[in-house]
């Protein structure tokens, strides 16, 4: 059992090269840089951040079924997307900030709802996250019903895809968001030991000297921001945030100092592989969530049998 998660960097680099060279049009400089490189960066961003945040939340909320969407953020962003499409064809530049604005709105709702006599508790976070998810999902479907856009297109946009067309401005904004995300991830990583202890119980954490309430609040806000960033750009990619941390734990144990970086690298790799699969196997590009679910389900089944 390899004990050093940074070794995962090598397969990731190999997959990056693979992703850059595969696809219609062969190996041409222009295609690689204009079309595939942004796609690869998006894939690393989405897969890495979702898996990292999934790992953090599973530890924080002591729940192996958590994924980044449990906090209700993705459904808010999805609603933002479907709302923006309500008015016919909208320039793609509009969508990410619109989606992010609504993910902030759902963050605000979840945060406010989760307060029980001025304190935030893990259970109330999960419950209010689920509540807001239902609310915004229903509103999204309502918006889709009245939308002028064909339904297929909306599903394609919402269910996750890496084929975003970048203009220089949106590319710049994405790179800035990517760098901010890396900083936020590093910040979360600095609390890895606190997350370790908190994952063994809230009372254990308090009695050892951790300010759990401040920690939960901070982790929740940062996780929501990061999830909002990802969903605003690529839609809701399912399973990655849920399954990858479990793979990391199977390989490296339970110490967050190992599984968080491992989750990031594994998640990026897995998402890029899924993306290669999604765009090369069928004449039509498959929605990414479908591919990740197809990979995720057998893995989960295998893990279940080992229990």
């Amino acid at each position: 059992m390899r004990n050093n998660p940074s070794l995962l960097l090598f397969p990731l680099i190999a997959i990056i090269f693979l992703s850059l060279s595969l696809g219609p049009g062969g190996v041409r400089g222009e295609i690689i840089f204009k079309i595939r490189l942004p796609r690869v960066l998006l894939g690393i961003f989405a897969g890495g951040v979702l898996s990292f945040v999934g790992g953090v939340l599973q530890g924080l909320l002591e729940n192996p079924l958590c994924d980044p969407y449990i906090l209700g953020i993705a459904s808010g962003a999805t609603f933002g997307v479907s709302l923006s499409l309500l008015f016919g064809h909208v320039s793609y530049f509009f969508i990410p900030p619109f989606a992010f604005a609504f993910s902030l709105l759902s963050l605000f709702f979840v945060y406010t709802l989760a307060q029980v006599s001025g304190r935030i508790q893990k259970l109330s976070l999960i419950l209010s996250g689920v509540l807001i998810s239902f609310l915004f999902s229903s509103l999204s479907i309502l918006a889709m019903t009245f939308s002028k856009q064909p339904l297929a297109q909306i599903i394609y946009l919402i269910m996750g895809n890496l084929s975003v067309l970048f203009s220089p401005l949106t590319l710049m904004s994405f790179l800035i968001v990517f760098i901010i995300s890396l900083i936020l991830l590093y910040f979360l990583f600095s609390y890895a030991q606190e997350l370790n202890i908190l994952s063994t119980g809230e009372e254990a954490a308090i009695s050892v000297g951790i300010d759990t309430e401040r920690l939960v609040r901070m982790v929740f806000i940062i996780s929501s921001l990061l999830t909002g960033f990802v969903v605003s750009f690529v839609g809701s990619i399912s399973f990655v945030g849920l399954v990858v941390p479990h793979i990391a734990r199977a390989l490296y144990g339970y110490d967050h100092r190992k599984i968080l970086p491992a989750s990031f690298l594994l998640g990026s790799s897995l998402l890029l592989i899924s993306d290669i699969f999604a765009r090369t196997t069928a004449p039509v590009e498959l929605p990414l969530s479908v591919v990740t679910a197809l990979f995720g389900v057998p893995f989960f089944f295998y893990r279940l049998r080992r229990l």
């Binding site: 063994t200 009372e203 000297g209 144990g253 339970y254």
Partner: protein, 260 residues
């Protein structure tokens, strides 16, 4: 100076307060056994002292300073709290769990140092689980897991140990072993111990003082032979057991009787 001084504490889970203007002083080096019926406030009292619960009024003074005026890590260095049961969702290794007790001595990003590993080893040796250090925390017995949690608490190097009915889920062999360890910690390292128990006889075996609690009030707080008396036990538990003296130790011994 008192290790713990509770001043006019008020606290309740509902509108009705369980503790009302509750005061108690515990000198340093004390070994206090807390007994009383369910609902009397044993667990609540320990959680209030540990800082896991906040009183609505009054103060908890630890070595002269208000508990909540101290920073969380400072509290972690002073007070160790051990709950009745510990469930671990993730199967950390025993040594990983024990090392978590060193957290109050670390700064952000500080990795464990050799000193931490040595202290963890010492704690595991004291609690007799050193041979289990590489096993998963969920792959050992309940008694061993309790001792692992105790080892973690000991790594905090606390001056005060709070133990909430820690022997309830242990068999008699495991219970005696834990009590022996606690007695050793109290006499050798002068750690102030407070522990709650349903078993009055076990408490009397190790405690220097017994606190008899009922409905959030002090019924008696004194040496075992001054507290474990038939009239007091009947008042609190509504049964009248026989009280005799332990044949080997000079402590009161409760003998239960089905017929009265």
């Amino acid at each position: 100076m008192d290790a713990i001084l509770l001043k006019e504490l008020s606290f309740g889970y509902t509108k009705e307060n369980l503790f009302q203007n509750f005061s108690l002083s515990i000198p340093e080096g004390d070994f206090l056994g807390i007994i009383g019926p369910n609902g009397s406030g044993k667990t609540t009292l320990l959680k209030l002292i540990a800082g896991l619960l906040k009183s609505t009024s009054g103060q908890v003074l630890v070595f002269g300073e208000d508990l909540f005026h101290r920073k969380p890590k400072e509290r972690g260095r002073l007070i160790g709290y051990m709950p009745q049961e510990s469930h671990f969702l993730w199967n950390f290794k025993v040594k990983e769990v024990v090392l978590m007790g060193r957290y109050p001595y670390h700064r952000r990003f500080e990795r464990e140092k050799r000193e931490d590993f040595e202290i963890a080893d010492l704690a595991m040796r004291l609690t007799n689980i050193i041979d289990l250090k590489d096993r998963g925390i969920n792959n050992i017995s309940t008694g061993e897991r309790q001792r692992a949690v105790l080892a973690r608490v000991l790594c905090q190097n606390p001056k005060i140990l709070l133990l909430d009915e820690v022997t309830s889920h242990l068999d008699i062999g495991q219970a005696i072993e834990i009590l022996r360890i606690l007695r050793h910690l109290n006499t050798t390292y002068k750690i102030t111990c407070l522990f709650s128990s349903h078993d009055i006889n076990l408490a009397a075996m190790v405690a220097k003082r017994i606190l008899l609690l009922a409905k959030g009030q002090v019924i008696a707080c004194d040496r075992p032979d001054k507290v474990i008396l038939p009239e007091l036990l009947e008042k609190v538990y509504s049964i009248r057991p026989l009280i005799t003296t332990h044949p080997k130790l000079n402590i009161p011994w409760v003998i239960l009787n089905l017929r009265e």
